[in-house]
């Protein structure tokens, strides 16, 4: 296990990249996912259709292919994303937002129809109904599945290691090359650093859930 201690700076560098990817992609995915969910229940057919196609396309495509498209196919159409961090953020948030959308939509479906009818009855517009009445209730209901989506996102950042991003997984591979005798401790170290993100995320889900719980 000395190999983990000796190479702590290398681990930390990879870990900080993984953490930044998770946080930045997570925030973007949350915002974009909420927008997609709103579009999916909107009364305007083209917006609804756009959101449906987007979600079905991204949710059913392997993340590696999303990366592949962004790095190798998009440039052929003149779309050149800067290699590394931002390419990874675009791919990860585009992919994760589809799952955020579906989680939020299930929350929207759980809000009683009477709530929307009452909101309309007192003269709120569709936007007001959604943002002031439906979404606040919907998001509270879906805290556990949303945290699941973000735990999956934290682990999915490892796909970026194959696409010009030196995060935890790529850092682990480098250490493995330098210490071929200790490849197993090196990988255990990598796993521990992922747990540093994912276990607190799981615990915070429980805390947040208790805080925002409401009687229905």
């Amino acid at each position: 296990m000395d190999v983990i201690v000796d190479n702590f700076p290398a681990y930390l560098a990879g870990f900080s990249m993984t953490l930044r990817l998770t946080v930045v992609s997570g925030v973007i995915a949350l915002i974009w996912g909420l927008v997609l969910a709103a579009l999916r229940v909107s009364p305007i057919t083209p917006l609804r259709a756009f959101s449906t196609v987007y979600v079905e396309l991204l949710r059913n495509t392997p993340l590696t292919l999303v990366f592949f498209f962004l790095v190798f196919v998009a440039p052929q159409f003149g779309l050149l994303a800067p290699l590394g961090f931002w390419t990874a953020v675009i791919a990860l948030s585009a992919y994760t937002s589809a799952f955020v959308c579906e989680a939020v939509r299930s929350g929207i479906n759980s809000v009683g129809l009477g709530q929307a009818e009452a909101a309309r009855a007192i003269g709120l517009t569709f936007g007001q109904t959604l943002s002031m009445v439906i979404l606040p209730q919907a998001v509270r209901t879906v805290i556990p599945p949303l945290i699941n989506v973000f735990i999956a996102l934290a682990k999915n950042t490892s796909v970026a290691s194959g696409f010009a991003t030196v995060e935890l997984m790529a850092a682990g591979r480098r250490l493995g090359t330098q210490n071929p005798a200790e490849i197993i401790p090196v990988l255990i170290g990598v796993a521990c650093f992922y747990l540093l993100i994912t276990i607190p995320a799981g615990i915070s889900a429980g805390v947040i859930e208790r805080k925002v719980a409401f009687a229905r």
Partner: protein, 291 residues
Amino acid sequence: MRIRPTGLVALLAVSALTLTACSSADDDAAEPDVADSSEVAEFPEGSTMATLAEAGEITVGTKFDQPLFGLVGPDGVPQGFDVEIAKIIAGALGIDEDGITWTETVSANRETFITSGQVDIVAATYTINDARKEIVAFAGPYYLAGQSILTLADNTDIEGPDDLAGKKVCTVSGSTPEANLLANYPDAEVVPFGTYSECLEPLRNGQVDAVSTDNVILAGFAADNDDLEVRGEPFTEEPYGIGVAKDDVAFRDWINDTLEASFEDGSWTAAWESTAGSVLPTPEPPAVDRY
């Protein structure tokens, strides 16, 4: 669990058939080539050579995505110089091509596959170095490669590794060339991808300035693409060896003998010319390092 009588009979029948098949295969191997059979008898009892020769089977780890050295085509059979070298070794054991099981070994799993016994030998552009010698043993080298640089043909800014400072250099995540760039050319910006072929599109787009790995791999790319060129002389030495279990000294010595014999009798040169020799000049065989 109960075994039904019919099932048992079937099982026995299959075992009998297998046994017959084995013995007939042995006969085949012995009859047409007398030299082979006498060689098989020479192996010391209990040695790896004797075990493999008796089984008539060997499991070889090689790369499946390395043009010129080990590349699997649509037919599923790997081709290249590493593959030919493995065939020479298997042939000296009296094992023909049907008896070789090809297993994909990527750079990261080669040591593990050898120590766990999942492969008998590894021939996979496998650089002999001291860190690896602590876990596995190497016969050879059978070829001396060296790290080099590939750029677009019209890019004359880069002529050697010292020109890489401030440039984006594509290589494979977790590879020896990546480790070398990080250690010796810290001013170069390393852009790691999953495989070397994935570096070519970013190179053409201008997202990276160069690709760096062993010259033999780059020569393969340059030969297939007119817009790419290999720059300068190799700046490292990568002796490719055959990886075997660490404590199997007899097997390593025997492979060294076999390699030296192939240097002498021209089969090494023939193996080179039928594979990597299509784009690279034929080198002198290297001196085997019996460490």
